[in-house]
């Protein structure tokens, strides 16, 4: 594996974070690419993408072990985007990391494109297809169980949305992972507090959220899902406890990075028009 210049090694190694790596710049690049894709495609879910970007930037900027030249390398870490509707951001990350040409991003959502509106496993680097909520954590449990039983070195990271946690199947998987002590499994919840038709607290209240995971024998940590150092610090410390799967509840902001999109339900659906797109790019480009 060392022969690949793309390989990002030393996952969860003890060295300190961020430092000379420009994770903020990586996150900015992803946001801009995502905005371009969604604007061109006139598609939805820009708010849902933006809340995940900093998490994705840290995961793919130094945590996950992968090889873009060998996307199915057996010992790679598995990343499952269970909230498959945020795939534009993931595609942008994967293109940036060299899994496929960046030119593919221009075809997002188009007739006959390789890149559909929900995560597709036919895309190099996409572990599994998702789109219907409540599937990813079960898939992750199956992978983690296999990894644990065979003492294989990979970890399984699953990124869920908060609204997704309405699905009963999520809690079946939560119970399973705790019971089977899948310490190689990490669930990250993008807790942006806005779901399809309203606020998470109003639609189907998840409180007390962290306690629900703890009660099912997960080790839970709540972080600011836009603080790159906090994200990296948490991800480098998994598993948080021996014999427990790790849950990271990432407090995020829907639409993060573009002021008029932030915390607005509308941007679950709305696609930016030309003017809004220009304003978005201007704001994202000037972000530190």
């Amino acid at each position: 594996m060392q022969s690949s210049k793309h390989l990002l090694t030393a996952a969860r190694a003890p060295e300190t974070i961020s430092g000379d790596r420009d994770l903020a710049g990586f996150a900015r690049t992803i946001r801009i690419a995502t905005a371009r894709m969604i604007h061109r495609a006139k598609s939805s879910h820009i708010g849902s993408c933006f809340s995940t970007v900093d998490l994705l930037a840290v995961l793919y900027g130094g945590i996950l072990r992968f090889d873009p030249l060998r996307p199915t390398w057996p010992e790679r870490d598995r990343f499952i985007l269970s909230k498959g509707h945020a795939c534009a951001a993931l595609y942008a990350v994967l293109a940036e990391q060299g899994f496929f040409p960046k030119s593919w991003l221009d075809t997002f959502y188009q007739d006959g494109s390789a890149l559909g509106g929900h995560a597709m496993h036919s895309v190099p680097g996409v572990e599994v297809s998702t789109g219907s909520l409540g599937h990813g954590l079960s898939l992750g449990c199956g992978m983690a169980l296999t990894g644990k039983r065979e003492a294989r070195p990979f970890h399984v990271f699953t990124l869920l949305s908060d609204g997704e946690c309405d699905e009963g199947s999520v809690w079946e998987a939560v119970l399973f992972a705790g019971h089977h002590q899948l310490e190689n499994l990490v669930a990250i919840v993008d807790y942006n507090k806005i779901q399809s038709l309203g606020g998470v607290d109003d639609v189907l209240d998840l409180h007390p959220f962290a306690e629900k995971w703890s009660a099912c024998r997960w080790a839970v940590r709540e972080i600011d899902g836009h603080n790159l150092q906090e994200i990296e610090c948490a991800l480098r410390q998994v598993p948080f406890e021996r014999n427990r799967p790790s849950c990271i509840i990432a407090r995020t902001v829907k639409g993060k990075g573009v002021s008029f999109m932030e915390n607005e339900l509308l941007w679950h659906y709305r696609s930016p028009n030309d003017e809004e797109f220009k304003a978005s790019i201007a704001e994202l480009s000037s972000a530190s």
Partner: protein, 311 residues
Amino acid sequence: MRSAFVRSLMVLAEEDKRVCLVTGDLGFGVVEPFAAKFPGQFVNAGVAEQNMTGIAAGMALCGKVVFTYSIANFPTLRCLEQIRNDCCYHNANVKIVSVGGGLAYGALGASHHATEDIAVMRALPEITVVAPGDPIEAEMATRALVARAGPAYLRLGRSGEPLVYSGDVNFQIGKAIRITDGDDVTLIATGTMLHATTQAATQLAREGIAARVLSMHTIKPLDVDAVFEAARGTRAIITVEEHSIIGGLGSAVAEVLAESAGCHVRFKRMGLPSAFTAVGSREFLTKSYSLSVEGIVESAMQVLELASSRA
């Protein structure tokens, strides 16, 4: 049939460490020997079929050949989307096993009657659908499905099904087995109706009617050639299944016949009406829906009378 399945699976699990069994907390008295002998290849997912199917897909995507196991509609309809998206879409090596396909759990009521499962499973892309007709077919189907990559649905009876075969059987996925030959009528049976269908053929022989019996253990991919041969070589075709007449074996055969030009063979589907079935033993229920030896004989006579009058 379930014992034959587990027996076969234990042999396979010994030979091939990829083979795993994931149960949805069912199989009392059946799965314990497997769990005891192969703890590293066994999982009880609890009463949680969606997760059971999802973890099976996750395990399969890490190289395992995973059998999910439950009864009636629980491993199929309860977790249909996991089967579609997680297993079929990824072409994952997950074999879904349902014990009690049809009316085996008749007395337990309609919740436990698996009467639309073939129709629903058959509609999914990538999947292979197999309903063995006796314990020997069940054993051979289990082995054949391990050898065949991709998702599959294995619909089993329950226990105590009589043997149809006495000697070697040439069992191949997607190839019907011709059990008796005849040129008057073809009886195409699948799954648990195979034994009664062969008995019906014996009775018909006494009446001077030569019935060809096909065991159509694989409903998808269907042995289209065997259907064409039946249409050419016999005067009538009757499909027999312990399943709704909508969408199962009868529909699959009808689709083939309806789209073949110049095919004028008489055709009848025997199965369950599209209705919630009554309560009772399998014997009681199958008889009340004419899925009995007598019922099949009577249908054959009727269809052949029609065939004669038309000629």
